[in-house]
Assembly symmetry: C3
Homo-oligomer: 328 residues x 3
Amino acid sequence: MSLQLGQIVDALGGRLENGDRHLQIDAIASLEDAGPQDISFLSNPKLHLQMQASRAGCVAIGPRVEAEARKRAGAYLVVDDPYLFFARLTQLWRRHHQLRPTPAGVHPSAVVEEGARVHPTASIGPLCHVASGAVIGEDSVLTSRVTVGAGCVLGRRVLVQPGAVIGGDGFGFANDKGRWVKIEQLGGVRIGDDVEIGANTCIDRGALQDTVIASGVKIDNQVQVGHNVEIGENSAMAGCVGIAGSAKIGRQCTIGGAGMILGHLEIADNVHISAATVVSRSIKQPGHYTGFFPIDDNGRWEKNAATLKHLHALRDRIKALEQTQKNG
Amino acid sequence: MSLQLGQIVDALGGRLENGDRHLQIDAIASLEDAGPQDISFLSNPKLHLQMQASRAGCVAIGPRVEAEARKRAGAYLVVDDPYLFFARLTQLWRRHHQLRPTPAGVHPSAVVEEGARVHPTASIGPLCHVASGAVIGEDSVLTSRVTVGAGCVLGRRVLVQPGAVIGGDGFGFANDKGRWVKIEQLGGVRIGDDVEIGANTCIDRGALQDTVIASGVKIDNQVQVGHNVEIGENSAMAGCVGIAGSAKIGRQCTIGGAGMILGHLEIADNVHISAATVVSRSIKQPGHYTGFFPIDDNGRWEKNAATLKHLHALRDRIKALEQTQKNG
Amino acid sequence: MSLQLGQIVDALGGRLENGDRHLQIDAIASLEDAGPQDISFLSNPKLHLQMQASRAGCVAIGPRVEAEARKRAGAYLVVDDPYLFFARLTQLWRRHHQLRPTPAGVHPSAVVEEGARVHPTASIGPLCHVASGAVIGEDSVLTSRVTVGAGCVLGRRVLVQPGAVIGGDGFGFANDKGRWVKIEQLGGVRIGDDVEIGANTCIDRGALQDTVIASGVKIDNQVQVGHNVEIGENSAMAGCVGIAGSAKIGRQCTIGGAGMILGHLEIADNVHISAATVVSRSIKQPGHYTGFFPIDDNGRWEKNAATLKHLHALRDRIKALEQTQKNG
């Protein structure tokens, strides 16, 4: 696999300096790993020394570090946003070399039920199941072993990783003298355009109305999205996140790995939740929120955790000390 | 899709007031969303103002709020338990309209091995795998892409959501000078009647004896149930819960999303564990137990988390202050 | 199913005392459950009273408790490491009785794409998908509904439980004015020999280079391994663990259930992480590390959690008290 440097510049733009358009690029690589036939990029200008030390045949840089780039032996390519350039370069690379093609149409091992609508440009991979009434939009891809339940709708350019389940039943029961009586889940799942859904992720159908994933949302692996959840445009959530039923997540939010959003909460736009944080109340202000127990040596943790169970009492003792001192 | 109000009352009971039995009901909806052709319900009597403001054609209420219901324009239906009524109504709705039918028999794409026993009324959906010696009971449903391993037994009316794995190997190894030697898992999984198992949930087979899920248990998506676990009747657990090997959960327990039960623990009946709580010791008393770090603004969390690592030392300083004050 | 005691000793070694080689052993059982036709083992010498009380036909013990074993009625078998003996016995049991055989070859319902390489001794179970360019090594087993993506390589004797996904895309995006632009994942997954991968576990392909799981690693169910992660030899991780992208885990490490390793961190060899612990910094020293909020009665938790949000301020109040006391 290779591309000439000139082909890359022609496809993605940028101003090439000190470079040979005919240089054969064999791989995209990190600054550390890159050799003379590789192209790399500097996304964090603070790491410009690493860039200068890199053996990369060409480095994509932002305009602010051009003076530093000039000092290195090889070529450099000035682009507006080197990380975005890198993303587009990976896309060019995959497309050009036809890596892991996703052919339009339904793989013979897939089960597409009567009454499902699959756009002719969509790709339904091996051992997928698309139930009756489901809709798979233009250029969408179910990679492998994906289930899309009855009445669930995927927009355009939706990419679903293997094992994902869209449209399992939401978890709803009424209690009848100790026994659980199922609330049939009569809603569906509606997914916008340009959404990615990770491997073995589940998105439940709504109880009465639909669970809604807006356009541009990116969901990593092993994520659980409960019934009636709404996720706003361009929000992203990392692996192992859980979003309980009826939670509403705003636009442009991010949730770190294993973050948990409890049910019926509302999260405003532009809220960023750290990994492993439990969101137990609605968040109305944009910002960065965190809550997990800091890791420690096990022995120290045991002591501190034991003391934590008396924290409220400690506060009272501090109050009493203050009172006595004040009075004394 | 529609049902006449009278059909609903005839099927599910209740006393209809101010209502026309011929009113055509087009949907079940929340009080907020319901229009004149919809039926709704009031499960929390405190929200009776919302009920009075609802445009619903009919509202199911408990007897205690009948005075308030009389004030609204539309019909109301007095039932013992409106939420339970709602659950049964969703079942009626689905059945009447034949939504997502689960036909008895084995889908042609499913793999049912020789030596498996599938009751003729059970439904084995697309791309499921039922291994040799597995038993699927009366009226049970494997929806789509479910695996039931060798020798695993499902009772009657068990509903398994897509992607679930029943009877993967439990996680057991002996250590031989740094290398792990597999303990073959010779037990199975036994599941009672009326159990629901969520999408992509895993229930491991036992090491020597069976992992046991009693009748009436409801398990949400992405749950991990380790080998030799026993879960008592009618317990319910939300998404992303993990139950480590050999834990015993009592009856009528609930575990919130992402709750984690460590191995070999025993949880009494009627214990309720909050979301994201780690159960690290056996619980012998019924009650409500919690343990997760409270979410905060990231900056404040950083300060408090850093201080938490010195909490035990702070306690000692409080003690010293108290001692000095007492002596002074 | 049964084996004669002599057959067991001949296959696995050990010194049989008070025993009849012709005793028919019907099952392997715990000390508590075992009857006169069962074999059991004592892995923890402290529990020797339980061993003496056991009705087991034969008990495998370590040499240190032979005096105690002599006091019981039945046979005993002296072995170096009874737990390791137990592991090997389960293997003998399964092999001898041909339990859940994994026949070499590809199940007719599996999809093995052109260009995939499956060793003739490997077993590709029902409804598995092996993509083009993937390699499945000698004696490896994909049990049921496993996906191995393009270019992913599994070594010898790798055992993959149902529903696992090897080679889904890593989660990588660049942001372009609020919209996420996909970074195509051009790397693969490389898995060594003797690795076990749990049910519904996901191992993502690398962005540029491979995600690497070294030989002897054991991964439980529902685990998420991000792109470019490296896991060293013989490390083991329990269910629901998450390892974010580019983390490097050393050799002989263990991670308890639902432990979370944040991205780009490095964990040294011989590090042991407790269940539900968030690793938020690199760990350079071997040892045992923990960090989760201790469970408590919900009411007490609420008080302590509320106070925790003011912990840093409490520390300042203690300081002030100390200062005043010192000055007074």
